[in-house]
């Protein structure tokens, strides 16, 4: 099986995955109200730095793209732009119901209802809003996934780029996408 040999990690990749799991730098894409839950997660009450996590200034430096809320067509373009600027391996965490199924905006004409049609989401955190406990729990899961080599969304994106690109173009209309992604 070809997929099987691809799933096998070399020794250095296992070591690298250990480092990647315990040093997670995040880029928050604060599109919606979810961002308000991040400060308590970061500060002394929950202290996510104890997991080796922290916010970073730019997507170039970050490992995780955290999308904290609903996505309109306008923001989705920018999220994709940011995601493509990140360095491999990179992970996407969908935060809150809005990224899962549109949340309270499920019937809005201007809102994307499913993030994983456009970007490879490694982990969703359900809730409206998810509380810091849930977030910490999710990060714990993410760390385990990375350590085991299960968070492979970035590779999935590379392999199925055509499918993702088709969805992106479908929702954002070709002419603008072409223009705005500097193709």
């Amino acid at each position: 099986m070809t997929t099987n040999s691809k799933d096998m990690r070399k020794t250095w990749e296992k070591i690298a995955d250990y480092f990647r799991a315990h040093s997670i730098w995040m880029k928050w894409y604060c599109t919606g109200c979810g961002a308000i839950e991040m400060p308590p997660t970061m500060t002394s009450r929950f202290d996510m730095e104890q997991l080796g996590m922290g916010p970073m200034a730019t997507p170039r430096q970050a490992d995780v793209l955290l999308i904290t809320g609903y996505l309109s067509a306008k923001t989705l373009r920018r999220v994709i732009y940011s995601y493509e600027q990140m360095q491999d391996p990179k992970y996407v965490v969908g935060f809150g119901s809005c990224t899962l199924n549109g949340g309270i905006y499920f019937d809005s004409y201007a809102t994307m209802t499913r993030l994983d049609h456009y970007l490879p989401v490694d982990l969703y955190i359900a809730g409206c809003m998810p509380r810091p406990e849930a977030i910490m729990n999710a990060f714990d899961t993410l760390i385990k996934m990375i350590e085991k080599g299960e968070a492979k969304g970035w590779r999935h994106y590379q392999e199925n780029h055509d499918w993702y690109r088709k969805n992106q173009l479908h929702s954002l209309k070709e002419v603008y996408v072409k223009d705005e992604f500097h193709e």
Binding site: F19, D47, E49, Q50, M56, Q87, P89
Partner: protein, 303 residues
């Protein structure tokens, strides 16, 4: 210079890296405790550096890569010149002016690479960093100038040895208190710690020079940061705190000074860049000139 010098130099570099990176990790813990958090593991900084090195990266052209290599190379070369306590990899090369200017190679490399990315934020960051340098370096160099005049040597280990003759009271920070204060403030500026950290302001200019770095480039910049911290703190230990008769003494002094500055840094807000310049030219520069005047004209504390 023979092969043994280089092997020795490599080992000292390794030691400096391990020591400073551990110390950075411990200091992250200290800061966390100040903020009543649990904080990361003490070896978190190692994980961060190796992780960054292990990741993929993007480049904006050859100068982007070349600048990073030149920066890290220049800074490591400077670190080789620094006496590690009593240990010296290269004999008779710990001249303070050589160190000050070789250090600039690394700075220039980094600035070049950052501007080479084409991101204006990087250039803004570099312009602030250079302005900052113009502010903190001059008071510091003035004080150093006084010391060199007083003791007729510009060798770091020479100046450190002179201090140790008089025991604790012979330390230059005791004999030249104004100079000591200036040096500590300048060190805060050199390290880019608050209140002089406007050039990396993450929320304002997206971490300034570092904005475009990821993967191995970022990992190398982290290495560079550890080495330049080692150089700058060591300078002060050698010039004002008696250096180290033994490696242990050197490292203890070093750790205490670094931790102290880090704690100070974490209770201060941030200066705008022009405020930083004005501050340095008003207070530390005046103190430095007074101190140097006292040394050169009055001969105070030299005896």
């Amino acid at each position: 210079m023979n092969l043994m010098n280089f092997v020795y130099a490599f080992l000292l570099l390794l030691a400096a890296f391990v020591f400073q990176t551990t110390l950075t990790g411990i200091n992250r813990k200290v800061v966390a405790r100040l903020q009543r958090r649990r904080g990361p593991r003490f070896y978190q900084q190692f994980i961060d550096i190796f992780k960054a090195l292990s990741k993929g990266s993007t480049t904006h052209g050859w100068v982007f890569d070349f600048g990073v290599v030149m920066a890290l190379g220049g800074i490591m070369a400077t670190a080789i010149f620094i006496p590690f306590g009593p240990l010296k990899a290269v004999p008779a090369m710990d001249n303070i002016f050589i160190i000050a200017y070789v250090l600039a190679v690394g700075m220039l490399g980094m600035a070049m690479s950052a501007s080479g990315s084409g991101n204006p934020w990087a250039s803004i960051g570099v312009s602030r960093a250079l302005t900052n340098m113009l502010a903190y370096d001059i008071p510091f160099m003035m004080v150093v100038f006084g010391l060199i005049f007083a003791f007729d040597t510009s060798s770091l280990s020479g100046l450190a040895a002179i201090q140790r003759e008089g025991g604790f009271l012979g330390w230059h920070v005791i004999r030249f208190p104004l100079g000591g204060i200036v040096a500590m403030i300048s060190l805060q500026g050199m390290l880019g710690k608050k209140p002089f950290d406007s050039f990396i302001a993450p929320a304002e200019i997206a971490s300034g020079p570092m904005v475009e770095y990821g993967g191995r480039h970022l990992g190398m910049l982290f290495l560079l940061h550890e080495f330049s911290t080692f150089i700058e703190v060591s300078l002060i230990v050698h010039l004002f705190f008696g250096g180290g008769a033994t490696v242990a003494a050197f490292l203890v002094k070093y750790a205490l000074i670094y931790t102290f500055l880090n704690i100070v840094s974490n209770v201060l807000p941030r200066f705008k860049i022009d405020q930083a310049v004005t501050f340095f030219y008003k207070v530390p520069l005046a103190l430095a000139v007074v101190q140097t005047f006292l040394i050169i004209v009055v001969g105070m504390g030299v005896a």
